[in-house]
């Protein structure tokens, strides 16, 4: 399969390298932020709504 399946990131074009880096820097900076209070609160509310227990089917190999 010679058709690229993933973004190659611009190979050796310095501008495209810069774009790729800036993009990931921007994205990763949000990724590493703690989850805001408002979303934690929402999850707590959603948790109090009954949900089918384990939609996974397989046993819980890992807890937490």
């Amino acid at each position: 399969m010679t058709e690229p399946t993933h973004d190659s990131g611009g190979d050796d074009d310095p501008m495209q390298d810069l774009i790729g880096r800036q993009l990931r820097l921007m994205y990763d900076s949000v990724l590493s932020e703690p989850i805001p209070e408002s979303i934690i609160d929402l999850l707590a509310k959603l948790d109090s709504i009954p949900v089918p227990e384990d939609t996974n089917g397989e046993g819980d190999a890992e807890h937490q």
């Binding site: 690229p4 399946t5 993933h6 973004d7 990131g9 611009g10 310095p14 501008m15 495209q16 390298d17 810069l18 774009i19 790729g20 880096r21 800036q22 993009l23 990931r24 820097l25 921007m26 994205y27 990763d28 900076s29 949000v30 990724l31 590493s32 932020e33 989850i35 805001p36 408002s38 979303i39 929402l42 999850l43 959603l46 709504i49 949900v51 089918p52 227990e53 384990d54 939609t55 996974n56 089917g57 397989e58 819980d60 190999a61 890992e62 937490q64």
Partner: protein, 178 residues
Amino acid sequence: MNARDDLVRQIPNLRAFAVSLSGNSEKADDLVQEALMKAWSSIEMFEPGTNMRAWLFTILRNVYYSEFRRKRREVEDADGKMAANLATHPEQIGHLDLVDFRAALAKLAPDQREALVLVGASGFSYEEAAEICGCAVGTVKSRVNRARAKLSELLALQSSNEYGPDHYNRAVVDTRKP
């Protein structure tokens, strides 16, 4: 890991995608909340073992586009707001360069911006991105190419206007130091 735990694990990525789409941290968290509520209420539709991140991203972008159509003017004004709203991380890259990048990203058409983020930052393949966007793989590729070309143009133009033509070359060289 059950679906609920899987969902919670993806929240940071969902936030990062929402910020990239909307250009605004506050708006992004509103989008994320709406997406989470929709996801939660249809969690039974999620097929265990499939890609939770992709599923959540699909929901989020649907929320984004239905909001986007209603609030078009706010998005067109995203430019200045975006640069003002987002935190910057100077580090190795000059403060102004990251702000410039974000401002430039905000200028892209949303479909180009999201395609670039999906394959360039969220880690999806072209095929996965195509499924999320509901379009052909070729369409994703051409959107990514156009996004990159447009950003290249905007960043080069911006830096040569403000700092002279060598600015972006210097920034590029500096950030390539090991």
